[in-house]
């Protein structure tokens, strides 16, 4: 029985966003008997709706509202209006993600302490650590059915993985496997095992990959405690004279505006929209935006040090067959400043179909240098770099003074400059990635620049002290007790790990905290 709550019901917890953060939080709260309204800007799409065609799926699922870019990052040059490749649909970017589910390494919770002072970086330790997070990670891994955890076996390696493994082992790397993936290696959670179909980025038509869209959301709805309103774009969060938030104004599919009252508001709109909403909610009492006494809302935007390496071989690889992110080399994720940078990086297989390869292999490239690469598409293997980037105060989401969205609200501008540490890491990763493929017999390799960001992090960061960040150890804003942040924008630092598992673990933990505080009448 799907719940339906009144706009004036101020006893509900209002969650803005339904992805790895919001979607999981909504279900976890609903399971505990908390009444929840979840608003999602996009529509609702299930496995039968997903399209295994890159551009068609991109048009169906992507967040394509007006955005601008600035800074020296390559994305601003290649994709100036598309800083991020994320999803606008119920379930959010868990529809698009590849499934890699890696815990932070213990030292990655304590980047400031481990790395020391890094000029130009706004490093800070998380106020939580590996020991505190371990039980929440266990719950998250069980929820997602992560391979190589619990009793879930690893996935079999596809052709793309086998090439990576051959080269990596030849180079002497030891930590090479098909990784920890939120993709069923056996039937689990009433969902089938992976059928090696490819198109993980376009939504898994089998439902073998975990996505909030067809797991946590319907499970939460089945409790009768969760109402999800799709095509509901939140415009503004309001507060009372005591400075407590009272609910949010949103526009429905027809553009009609409604105000949903709430006891608690949780923002989980991804690291671009979440700070944008806080900034767009500025008021007389909070002229710099909500929860922004530290001035850190929108700052410290991180996107991981990324890039890809593609290699061409003498014989066919057919990398598109099977799991998109089919394997990983983890040796470089260690902390080892002797390489010339702090932080580490993972190397993970990745494949693109022919249409996206044309768009992303060398954006702007043309002529025979480009087309001879495309001619060898069938003989290509591919990998993606995921490394820890440095938080910088000046890398930030701001409100555009010129561009407005369809609701006439200022669009977000995403400013990013690579830190010298980011550049040193990317160069090292390109060299190692190319060496892996050479060791497997590649005749040509390509250091492909970053795609629009799928890992958007850090713009409402967690901190021990109110002066240093936006939220406390529970994701509760330092300034407004009944306002929470529930997505990757909480990240104090980004680690070298794909962020979804940590977002999910934090959401499960936050649900525990919110429901306890609600029953103690503290919220």
């Amino acid at each position: 029985m799907v719940a339906k709550f009144d706009l004036n019901d101020d006893s509900v917890v209002l969650i803005i966003g339904t992805g790895a953060g919001g979607g999981v939080l909504a279900n976890e709260l609903a399971q505990k008997g908390v009444k929840v309204v979840a608003l999602k800007a996009g529509g609702r799409y299930l496995p039968e709706d997903y399209i295994n065609d890159e551009w068609d799926a991109f048009g169906q699922l992507s967040w394509l509202d007006a955005r601008t870019t600035s800074g020296d990052w390559r994305v601003a040059q290649d994709f100036s209006g598309l800083p991020a490749w994320i999803v606008k649909a119920v379930g959010g970017t868990t529809i698009h993600w590849a499934g890699a589910s890696l815990r932070f390494r213990p030292h990655e919770w304590k980047a400031r302490t481990t790395y020391g002072h890094v000029a130009g970086a706004n490093l800070l330790d998380w106020p939580i650590d590996a020991e505190e997070m371990a039980p929440w990670y266990e719950k998250a891994e069980a929820k997602l059915g992560v391979t190589r955890t619990g009793n879930f076996p690893g996935l079999p390696g596809n052709n793309n993985y086998k090439v990576l493994e051959k080269g990596a082992l030849a180079l002497g790397y030891k930590e090479v496997s098909t990784g920890r993936m939120a993709i069923n290696s056996v039937e689990n959670d009433d969902r089938p095992a992976c059928q090696q179909t490819g198109f993980c980025f376009q939504g898994c038509k089998w439902g073998a990959k975990w996505s909030a869209a067809y797991t946590d959301i319907p499970k939460g709805e089945a409790t009768g405690n969760l109402e999800v309103r799709s095509n509901a774009q939140v415009l503004r969060i309001e507060h009372d004279e005591k400075g407590r938030v009272t609910g949010a104004l949103y526009a429905d599919r027809e553009g009609n505006q409604h105000f949903q009252k709430a006891r608690v508001v949780c923002v989980a709109g991804n690291s671009i929209e979440s700070p944008r909403l806080l900034l767009n909610s500025a008021s007389e009492m909070f002229p710099d935006g909500l929860a922004n006494s530290s001035g850190q809302v929108g700052r410290n935007y991180m996107r991981h040090v990324t890039g890809s390496v593609y290699g061409v071989f003498e014989k066919p690889v057919r990398m598109w067959r099977g799991t998109t992110m089919a394997g990983i080399v983890q040796d470089e994720a260690r902390f080892d400043p002797s390489r010339g940078f702090v932080g580490g990086y993972e190397l993970e297989t990745l494949s693109l179909g022919l249409p996206f390869m044309a768009a992303f292999l060398d954006p702007g490239g043309w002529g025979r240098g480009f087309t001879s690469a495309m001619d060898d598409y069938e003989r290509m293997a591919g990998m993606w770099i995921v490394g820890e980037d440095m938080p910088q105060e000046t890398n930030r989401i701001t409100l555009s003074s010129t561009v407005k969205d369809q609701y006439v609200l200022p669009a977000p501008n995403v400013h990013f400059d690579d830190h010298p540490n980011d550049i040193a890491m990317r160069s090292h990763a390109y060299r190692q990635g190319e060496a892996i493929y050479r060791a497997a017999g590649a005749t040509r390799t390509f250091p492909t620049p970053p795609y629009p960001s799928t890992h958007n992090l850090g713009t409402n960061r967690m901190s021990e002290h109110a002066r240093d960040g936006v939220v406390n150890r529970h994701g509760q804003t330092h300034d407004i007790p009944n306002l929470f942040i529930s997505d990757g924008s909480q990240f104090t630092t980004g680690a070298a790990e794909n962020p979804t598992l940590t977002i999910v673990a934090l959401a499960i933990r936050q649900a525990d905290h919110i429901s306890a505080e609600l029953s103690r009448q503290n919220l």
């Binding site: 090696q196 179909t197 768009a359 702007g364 069938e378």
Partner: protein, 174 residues
């Protein structure tokens, strides 16, 4: 292809008989552009046939794939053959021809060596016109499903049950 039914079955001799200007690789006729072997023909709607022929040549010079027929390039650029787009395309191609003449060629199409034509394109690489044509080709050319098998790309596999039993790990040369 948008090949008009009335071009089907036309012989090379018939095509040439109706043409008034033959480019190096395309036949340009009164209101149409065609392949010399009559494999296809395209009737221009808003662009001059010579302009269309130059645009097709330009598209192939930007993304040359020698194993891909002209028909794919025609499909990729035919969206510009509209009343709204024609003025900009005619101006862009006129600029390209002017650059060719400045380099001693009668026209862009008259520059017989690809290297010479590519040098002309490099000279206008930053122009809005070049970037529009190049950017449009990224999807206009490579997103044609009929073209994918020519690169070995298999497209969707869900309808075949994925690759679990169809070679996801069949690499045999490592």
């Amino acid at each position: 292809m948008t090949t008009k039914p009335n071009w089907r079955g036309m012989t090379r001799r018939q095509l040439i008989a109706r043409s008034f200007a033959a480019g190096t690789t395309l036949i340009v006729g009164a209101g149409f552009v065609a392949a010399p072997n009559a494999a296809w023909a395209y009737e221009a709607a808003a662009l001059k046939p010579e302009t269309l022929a130059t645009l097709i040549r330009m598209a192939r010079d930007i993304y040359p794939h020698d194993h891909i027929g002209d028909a794919f390039y025609v499909t990729a650029v035919k969206g510009y053959d509209t009343a709204e787009a024609a003025a900009e395309i005619e101006a862009g191609i006129a600029a390209l021809n002017a650059a060719a003449q400045g380099a001693g060629h009668a026209s862009y199409l008259d520059a017989a060596w690809e290297d010479d034509r590519v040098a002309l394109l490099r000279g206008m690489e930053k122009s809005a016109f070049f970037q529009k044509i190049r950017g449009g080709l990224v999807t206009g050319l490579y997103n044609q499903k009929e073209l994918w098998p020519l690169f070995g790309y298999e497209g969707e596999s869900f309808s075949h049950g994925g690759y679990i039993d169809r070679g996801f790990d069949d690499i045999d040369w490592l």
